[in-house]
Structures are given as structure tokens and as C-alpha cells.
């Protein structure tokens, strides 16, 4: 029986995980030169285009040692972006070891640390790897020291490689064999296989990716999903090579896929344990922490006729991305749509892009917000907590006893010279300072507790621009805290526009209200009547602008040579008008619904 090593590659975003995976695929002959392209495992178009990994990718390879022995590598390449850190946590459970990759020119970053801690929590063997040593800016000594401080390893433990040139990769593969513990191979125990990922195939149902921890999974066997209690038959089993390669059985220690005609993703949840119907295991493997959406936004079809298409598209997306949640909602301004929950802004952006690209549905999104907990004033009664994920559903100020909002702990790593602007940014965002830690090579780790709502907007961009791109950032949810929050409404021509309501801290409401009114004045077209634009908290109008009525717009010339151009313009305007939303008698262009997002902090 061949030896097996199950391991993953973890790192901060862009530190070269997928490129390193490319080299492993190459060196193990898993892929021919002809088929090869960069970041081979990033098989979604979006991943290739953006050059980032969004989903984890598992792959089986056969490594031939210099001794001639063959070892099976089950590798999982993971994403580096903070929004997808749950993908990392899933991958870790299927492995005994992790390559912790650090870009030798960038050094240890926020996600290096958070991913390392996740791996340590799972008792994984960590192999520290300095990558991109080919770069002229690589600082091997300095970054190695950072790693030594972080992990407490020796300099000799740290591998030095270049995913680009392939330098050090052979050695790294040997080290994987030597250092990563072999998995337990107890094939006779009752079956326990952990589902660490799944894909949906229209024809075959769920394709479930499993790591067999104990026992043996055989083709045709009756299988039981321990959490959901659902029973299926294992119609097909196989290994995850560049293609799916069917096999007769998967034994303890192996990684592969199972297809059992599972039509609903709900039946085969990631994190669940598969056992055998005939000889079930006693207990499931402890599952994952459930991933919870952090950011919510309304998704509305631009063309109101496309509601059903949007629903179908969301269903389809959810099949491969259980972290996406949605439920129908209606807006006076936007009609029928959905309130969707995302892991973060990048996740939201990616879902929007996929809707547009894969399903060709044009959507309007409302400004993203977090989820609030509201305690109502109800004298004499047991206080009930209301969960609000749509600003327009926030009750009247007078009825509210207290509003709680999610807080996160942000860990920011930065070169020391940018501490000033970064702290200023955090203070502006209602942050509370926790600690500051000086590290090797003039780097500082700063921790702040911040309201999540202040981070979902352009916090990351501001952080980057305040530090010339050097600061990196990671966050964890901590708890809900009471804050002085109010609902800021926008009224156009005296009518409230629900989709433009937002929840803000009282101290920031006035400035925001003024800016919003100004911005809307620019975005809303002139009407045949004057349109008052107001921002209000409850009944108090706190800011006001007026869009003047149209006085003269008729084109001067319309002769033989103008007709065509004028008609084409009219056709374009017609399209534009169709895409506008009406509240009362006021036309609102789509951009207006994201007006808040396009405002700077300080103007």
C-alpha cells in the first residue's frame, strides 16, 4: 500500500499558494505540459481573471521519491482572502499538515497569522515556507526571523522556495513526506468520512468531497449522513485528480469524492460525517463552526420581470456556495427582490458578478449593512430581541430601548511608520484600541475593536491607501454591543425611499445626511417639477436639498442630419429610463442606490 500525505497550502492572499501548487502538479507529472496554464487549480473564470483563489481545490498527486518509492499527496489549495477563511478551516480538517507560505518580499501578514492559528487549533504539522525567493526584494533573513518569532521554529526548519522558478520545490516535497504525519489507516473500524466540500452537478446531484478518517467507503454501499439522518447509496466513488477518477473504494486516510444522487445540498452538508448504514459509527466527527453571513444587501432585478430568473440563479449559486443566504423581500422603490447575506464585501461582489456573468441578470444592489439586534420598549413585558438585517425594517426611534451591533476584533499588521494614519482611521470608525505589539523588522501589530458596520464600507481601501498598500488586516467577530444607532431615511418629494435608508451612529448621521442629499441632487435627473431631497431621523428632517425643476431642455436643431443621432439618443435614454426606479413621481437612477458607497470620508 502506498503511503499517503494529506496537506494543504495556507497563506496570506497572493503569497503564491496556487503558483506553488502548479509546481507540485508539474513535478508529480499530474498534468502534461500541453494542458498546463498558470494557477491551474483556479478553475473558475472569475478566479483566473482576478488572479485570486475563491474556493479551495483538492487534488490527488503521485510523488516519486528519489528512492523510487511512490507517495500519494492529497493537496488542498486554499484562498487567502479574509472573506473566505472558512474555506481554509474546512480544508484543514481533512489534513495532517500545512505548508504555511510566506512571501519573502512581503513578510508575515494578517492572514498568515490567522491561518496559522487555525491550523494550530487543528493540531496540524506546520511547515513554514518562504516563497518568492527569486524576487530581488526578497528578505530571507528578516522574514525568516518573523516566522521564527511567530511559530517558535528554528531557522533550519524553514524551507526556501520559488513557486516561479521551481527552486527548492523538490526538497519541499521530500520534507512533506518526512514531516507531515501519515494519516491513520484503520480500514476496519466503522466508516467515518468527513465532508469538507461539495459541488453541485445538475445531472448527478451533489458531488461530495470527503476525507475518510476511519473505515472503508465502498461503491454501492448504503451511506448515512449522520447530522441530517439522510440515507443514500454511494453510486460512484473516486479520486480527485485533474479529472474525477472513479474507483471501487476509499479507505481510511484517503481523500476523494462520492456521488449518491443527492438532489438537495441540504442533505449533504459540508461538515457532516458519512457512515455506513449497515455498520454505523457511534459518533460523528466534530463538525465546523457554522459560517454566518456578516454583510447583507438587497438584490433586485433591474427588470422587474426577471424576479424568477433571479431566484433560480440564487438557488443555483447557493448549491455550490452554502455561505450565501437569501430570502425574498419587497421594496416600495425597487419592487420584488431578495435580501442576501454574504461573508464579506468581496464575497458580495463576486456573487453580483456571477449573477451578471453566468446568469446574465442585471441587478440593483442596495448599500450593504450588517445585522442588528433591537430591544423594544415594552413596559411590563419580557423584552424581546428583534433581528434587523434591512435598515428600512428598523423600528421607530421612540419604540426602541436599545440597538446592538456586531463588533469585530481587527488585527492590523503594518510597517511602523504608518501607525499614525491607521490609528486615525480606526478612531474615525468608532474603534476602540486594544493593543499594539512591536515585531521584527520594524513591523507592528495593532488590534482594535470596531463595529463591523464601519469596516464593511471602504475600510480596507482606506487602510491600504493610508499605508501605501503595506498594511494588512484580518478580523474576527467578537460580540454584539449596544450603540447609539439611528435610522436615517431619505425622502424624495416628501416620499420616503425605503431602499435608501441606512443605519448609522447618531454622531455621524448629520454629516452623512448632508452628503447623501448633495450626492442625490447630482444623481437624480431634473423633473418637470421641483424635487425636495430630505434626510430625516424619524420625523426630524436633518438635511435638505432641492433639485430644481426643468425649465428648458428642448434641442435647438433637428434637421435631416440630426434625426438619426437624436433617435439613437432617445433610444438610449428610453433604456435608461426603463432602468430607473419610480418612487411616487420621482425617477431614481440605479447609481443612486449605491450613493453612500461612492462618498469619501472627508469631503
Amino acid at each position: 500500500m502506498k503511503e499517503i500525505r494529506n496537506f494543504c497550502i495556507i497563506a496570506h492572499i497572493d503569497h503564491g499558494k496556487s503558483t506553488l501548487a502548479d509546481r507540485l502538479l508539474e513535478r508529480t507529472g499530474s498534468i502534461s505540459e500541453r494542458e498546463f496554464h498558470d494557477q491551474m487549480l483556479d478553475d473558475m473564470d472569475l478566479e483566473q481573471e482576478r488572479g485570486i483563489t475563491i474556493k479551495s481545490h483538492a487534488i490527488k498527486m503521485i510523488y516519486e521519491r528519489p528512492s523510487g518509492d511512490e507517495v500519494i499527496f492529497n493537496l488542498i489549495d486554499t484562498p487567502g482572502h479574509v472573506d473566505f477563511s472558512y474555506e481554509v478551516s474546512r480544508a484543514l480538517k481533512a489534513c495532517e499538515g500545512a505548508l504555511l507560505v510566506v512571501d519573502a518580499a512581503q513578510g508575515v501578514e494578517a492572514q498568515t497569522i490567522s491561518n496559522l492559528y487555525q491550523a494550530l487549533e487543528q493540531d496540524l504539522e506546520i511547515i513554514p515556507v518562504l516563497n518568492k525567493i527569486d524576487l530581488p526584494g526578497a528578505d530571507v533573513e528578516g522574514v525568516a526571523q518573523q516566522l521564527i518569532d511567530l511559530i517558535g521554529c528554528d531557522f533550519e526548519d524553514i524551507l526556501q522556495v520559488s513557486g516561479k522558478t521551481g527552486e527548492g520545490v523538490e526538497h519541499m516535497m521530500e520534507e512533506v513526506v518526512k514531516r507531515v504525519p501519515a494519516p491513520g489507516r484503520d480500514a476496519d473500524k466503522p466508516l467515518r468520512a468527513l465532508i469538507f466540500d461539495s459541488k453541485f452537478n445538475t445531472y448527478r446531484g451533489s458531488v461530495v468531497y470527503v476525507r475518510v478518517m476511519e473505515g472503508t467507503l465502498e461503491k454501492g454501499q448504503g451511506i448515512l449522513f449522520m447530522q441530517t439522518g439522510k440515507k443514500y447509496e454511494a453510486d460512484e466513488l473516486g479520486y480527485l485528480q485533474m479529472k474525477q477518477v472513479p474507483t471501487e473504494s476509499l479507505e481510511a486516510g484517503e481523500v476523494g469524492y462520492v456521488i449518491g444522487g443527492v438532489k438537495s445540498l441540504e442533505d449533504a452538508r459540508v461538515g457532516d460525517t458519512i457512515t455506513s448504514v449497515d455498520n454505523p459509527a457511534e459518533k460523528p466527527i466534530p463538525g465546523y463552526k457554522e459560517v454566518k453571513p456578516m454583510v447583507f444587501s438587497g438584490l433586485y432585478p433591474t427588470d422587474t420581470d426577471e424576479f424568477d430568473e433571479l431566484r433560480t440563479a440564487l438557488e443555483r449559486l447557493q448549491l455550490n456556495d452554502a455561505s450565501l443566504t437569501y430570502q425574498p423581500e419587497t421594496s416600495k422603490a425597487l419592487g420584488f427582490g431578495f435580501r442576501a447575506g454574504f461573508l464579506g464585501l468581496l464575497h458580495m461582489e463576486i456573487i453580483q458578478e456571477r449573477l451578471d456573468r453566468e446568469f446574465d441578470i442585471d441587478i440593483i444592489t442596495t448599500v450593504p449593512n450588517v445585522e442588528y439586534e433591537v430591544v423594544m420598549k415594552e413596559p411590563g413585558k419580557e423584552r424581546e430581541k428583534l433581528v434587523v438585517d434591512n435598515p428600512s425594517e428598523m423600528p421607530e426611534v421612540g419604540l426602541i430601548e436599545e440597538v446592538y451591533e456586531p463588533f469585530i476584533k481587527a488585527t492590523i499588521l503594518t510597517p511602523a511608520e504608518y501607525i499614525g494614519p491607521i490609528m486615525e482611521l480606526c478612531e474615525n470608525r468608532r474603534g476602540e484600541f486594544v493593543t499594539q505589539l512591536h515585531m521584527q523588522s520594524n513591523r507592528v501589530e495593532i488590534q482594535y475593536e470596531l463595529p463591523l458596520a464601519e469596516v464593511v464600507f471602504d475600510f480596507y481601501d482606506q487602510l491600504k491607501s493610508g499605508s501605501r498598500g503595506f498594511a494588512t488586516f484580518d478580523y474576527d467577530f467578537i460580540e454584539y454591543r449596544a450603540s447609539d444607532l439611528v435610522r436615517l431615511d431619505i425622502l424624495l418629494n416628501e416620499e420616503p425611499v425605503d431602499a435608501l435608508s441606512s443605519i448609522v451612529h447618531r454622531d455621524k448621521a448629520y454629516a452623512l445626511g448632508r452628503k447623501l442629499c448633495k450626492k442625490l441632487k447630482d444623481l437624480i435627473p431634473q423633473h418637470q417639477f421641483q424635487v425636495p431631497i430630505q434626510a430625516a431621523i424619524g420625523k426630524d428632517v436633518i438635511a435638505r436639498e432641492t433639485k430644481k425643476a426643468l425649465r428648458k431642455d428642448v434641442t435647438a436643431k433637428c434637421y435631416g442630419g440630426d434625426v438619426s443621432r437624436k433617435r439613437k439618443l432617445l433610444e438610449k435614454q428610453k433604456e435608461g429610463k426603463k432602468r430607473m426606479k419610480q418612487v411616487g413621481t420621482v425617477d431614481i437612477p440605479q447609481e443612486a442606490f449605491l450613493a453612500v458607497l461612492s462618498m469619501d470620508d472627508d469631503d
Binding site: 426643468l550 428648458k552 431642455d553 435631416g560 434625426v563 438619426s564 432617445l570 435614454q573 426603463k578
Partner: protein, 380 residues
Amino acid sequence: MAGIYIHIPFCKQACSYCDFYFITSLEYREQFVTRLLKEIRSYRGSKFTDEPVETIYLGGGTPSVLSADQLHQILEEVRDTFDVRVKEVTMEMNPDNVSAEYLNALLEIGVDRASMGVQSFDPDLLEFMHRAHDRDEALECLRLLSETGFPTYSVDLIYGNPGQSTDCLKQDLDELLAFDPPHVSAYSLTIETDTRLGKQYELGRLDPLPDEKVARHFEMVVDRLAEQGIQQYEVSNYSKPGQQAVHNAGYWSHKPYIGLGPSAHSFWWKKGKDAPVRWYTKQDIKTYLSGDRRQLIEETEQLTRRQLADERIMMGLRTRKGIAVDELSSRYGYDLNQRQQSYLDQKKQEGIVKRLDPIQLTFEGLKIADALILDLVSMQ
């Protein structure tokens, strides 16, 4: 009944607001005329010559940079090629080109309507517009028009210039009305991209007149002209009774026309016969002179009924005549729906629509006609 438009793409200098196609290299004139004669001739025997031609329009550019002799050759070629039963031969001209002699020669070769590019009598405005003529020439050309007894003529005026006061406009109107012109085309200044003014505007060096001021100017033009019996019959066109421009009105009602020269548009639609089509030539003298017909066509549009209906509404609502509901339905297969009808009803109550059939706008409506047209066509 068809019209013929001939584009003469030469100007002495570039006016700051102008986005017509023209070049200032006058040395190409001769070659151009030769080429144009060939282009006219190329229509011989084609289906486009079956339709009697009632109007000819020499536009540009500045047709008056050509000699009367050259213009004579052009008109002769048109007469030899098409079935000309002409009612109106209009020629655009600029004040700096005309003399009594020239005007008389034009009369002789059959031009019977002048369209004079005066634009303003105000020296500062003329300079701002970068016109080639001065105040004296503006006055002189109008004097010459009456002296030579031109059967009819039109004068172009531009209002709503940045910084232009209502007094300044009033002055322009007074000076113009002293000549008692039979027809006036008064345009509110439009700042087009790719013009000098457009560039200045982009650079933030030009503040357009706010639209409420432009509206004031517009009202003043309409009122002053009306006082002298010169009635508005289209957004920018005013005339004494019976003096409306025949050729231009043809555009607004989808009469067929053939355009000749670079950047000229042609439109051909004959009921029950050919599918409606519009084509236009490139804005490029070199391509034009090369004579390569296929190279020259910039675009050919096959127009759907719906597009034509939109165009007809777009142009019809700009005119005093308006547009008859029946014409829309019989000629364009376009019936107003419920939403459109109630919209029009409501606008009638608001004093923006004057009549429901034919649909006509009040002056209040005319001022914001673009918005109304967009509203209306978007409902179907």
C-alpha cells in the same frame, strides 16, 4: 415628392460652437465640385430619380464660398439627373460672402431662398462665436437681400450665449426686425463636444447660461417675433404666413430626401414599396474625393416601424402642427396606449399639452419638449 440636400463642406474659419462637418482648406473647392457633379450623375436612371424633386437645399459648411458659376453647374447637373419640379431652392450663405452682384447671379441660376447666417449683430458676441463677419457686414447683407429683391429669405440668430443679457438679445432682435424678415431661425446656443466651446467647457472655462435664463431668452424671442407677425412653427423656426421652409418641413414629416456630399444624410421611404432606410456618408473630404462609394458610406440604417414612429413623435411634437393620432396609426401602425393617453390628458390639464388630436404642445410644453417626448415614447 422628394428633397435634395447638398453639403458644401467649406468655411473660411471655424465658428466656436459649430459641429457641422466642414474644412477650412478652400483649395479643394474645384476638385470637390468635380466630384460632386459625378456623384449627382451616378444617380442617373436609379429608382431615386422616379420621385419628383420639389426642394433643393444647399447647405454646409458655407455654400457661398463657391462661385455662382460653380453653383450653376451643380444645379444644372441636379436638373439633368432628377425629375426636378422645384418649389424651393434654398442656399445657406454668410454675410461676409455676399455682394449685390453675387446675389443677382444666384437669382439667375435659380436660387430663390437665402438662409443668412447672421447669428448676431453684437460685435462681442460675433467674436465669441468666432464668426468670419462683423456687425457692419451683418447689417449690409440684410440690406442687400431686400435691395436685390430676393423672393424670400431666412435669417439665423443665436441666443442663450454664456453671459448674454436679455438687453443684448433684445437689441439683436430689434435690429433684425428692422428688416422685417419673412423667416427667422433662432437657435439657443448648444455647447457640443468636439467644438471650441466644448473644449473650453470641459476645461471649466465656460459657464453655460443657466436654463432658466435660456428659457427667458426663448420666451423673449417668441414674443418679439410674434409681435411682428413672425410666428413660431417649430422649436427654432419662425415665419410670416405662407413663408415656412418647405424643405426642412419635409424632414419632420419623413418625406424622402437624397443627400449629396460628405456627411450628408439620405432617407428613402415610399409607402408599399421600399423598406425605410437612412444612410449617410463619412465626414471626410479625402474619402469623398477618392470617389469610392463603398468607402464613403458611414452607416446604413434599416428602420423599423417603431423607430420611425418614435422619430415622427420626436419631430412632430416640435412643430406647431403637432402630430395627428390618425397619422401615427395609419402610417406607422402606432396606437397610443392607455398610459400615454392618460399622460397626455394630465399634461393637458397642466397646460403643457395644447391639443390631444393632433397632439400639440403649448409653448410651456415646447420648452421642455425633450423630456415630454422621452416620457411619451418610453411608455410604449
